[in-house]
Symmetry: C2
Subunit: 223 residues, 2 copies
């Protein structure tokens, strides 16, 4: 399943780019809150992010969130709204399969841990890696996956193995009852009813930059 459109409170589709900006808004709002601000205008939020205030107001209006004239947005309220929109109302347990470079990078990725995503398990089939400590988590034998996720329930499994191994890993994950897979390999995994698969798009930013540099991508931006 690759559904990539969200539906707004009014039933309209929400642009992918809007959904990508929301985590950035949230991160910046956390920073404003730490400073002690109570309110923030769309202008101030926009300036801090290199975005137009109109863009921010448009993005938030999809979710029925509107600022007040002169006061802007109440920061606590907006954080709460964004956390709900982004599904951050509970903690999600993550398992990473593959303790190579990408797996290690993800295991210690601040962007996960600082939000409601907790890496709980790391698996590999390499005997040289099993037993190693990565950011406080001991790498487990992938053959013990089913057993381990009975002890520690896993919401989302991340595949960070070589492309060729990804297919078999995915099958094993699905058999073990995992319902959400984040695939960091270029492999096109088989689809299973009731299992959500997302592709990490590491290369996408590079493509956009290549476009910019080659002049094919329009220089005009939303700034």
């Amino acid at each position: 399943m690759n559904g990539d459109s969200t539906i707004s409170s009014k039933g309209n589709p929400i642009p992918h780019a809007t959904m990508e900006r929301l985590p950035r808004y949230l991160m910046q709002l956390y920073r404003f809150r730490v400073i002690g601000d109570a309110n923030v205008s769309s202008q101030a939020l926009g300036e801090s992010l290199g975005l137009k205030d109109t863009q921010i107001r448009k993005d938030l209006s999809y979710f029925g969130v509107f600022g007040k004239a002169r006061y802007g947005y109440n920061i606590d309220f907006l954080i709460d709204a964004l956390e709900k929109i982004l599904g951050l109302t509970r903690v999600y347990n993550l398992a990473i399969v593959g303790a190579g470079n990408i797996g290690r990078a993800l295991a210690t990725y601040r962007g996960f841990e600082s939000r409601e995503f907790r890496v709980k398990l790391i698996f590999d089939n390499n005997k040289g890696l099993i037993g190693q400590d990565i950011g406080g988590i001991v790498v487990q034998d992938f053959r013990l996956l089913e057993e381990k996720i009975k002890e520690i329930p896993v919401d989302i499994a991340i595949i960070a193995v070589p492309e060729k191994a990804a297919y078999e890993v995915a099958e094993t994950l699905v058999k073990a009852g995992i319902k959400a897979i984040y695939n960091f390999t270029p492999a096109e995994l088989h689809h299973h009813e009731g299992v959500f698969i997302e592709h990490a798009s590491i290369s996408f930013g590079i493509y956009k930059l290549a476009h910019h540099l080659s002049g094919h991508w329009p220089r005009k931006s939303q700034r």
Copy 2:
């Protein structure tokens, strides 16, 4: 600059999600070509990717690329068209700043090397890392950046340092004349005229999966 819309050959904006799917189409077409296929239907391409054939035809039609009834798309022609759309008509030199987990993962990321992106330089300011070999590239002292990129011109610099260090790294890159930056930290970098900055969105897929699991994201997908 955060322009996130592309303009089609007819002047219409192209959805972000379409631009994200194009690299997947291209990767799959490479696979079909290796097998020796000359043509591929939108149905076959769609099935291999878990996408509807209508989605594929729509995505490609933005660029004026249409298949033929009964034959579908000529694979060589479609690869050529997608490479042009994605700016893969020349090689781009990459420099990675930060030889930690993310930097290492990116330095050896197959998705870059297999296309037209070549990691040429890796920098760090950690003496314990300078001089280390990562995938055949020796980590250089970040203080030598300006000197090194005179020897090896860099098109795109990737920032993979701790968030706090990202601001200073970005300033140094801009001063050294780098025009395209791919930022793998959560830092909101200052904008500079004529410099393109892209954010890696590692967390985005996780958010989407969290949505799916929490039921907020519509289950109905484009499959």
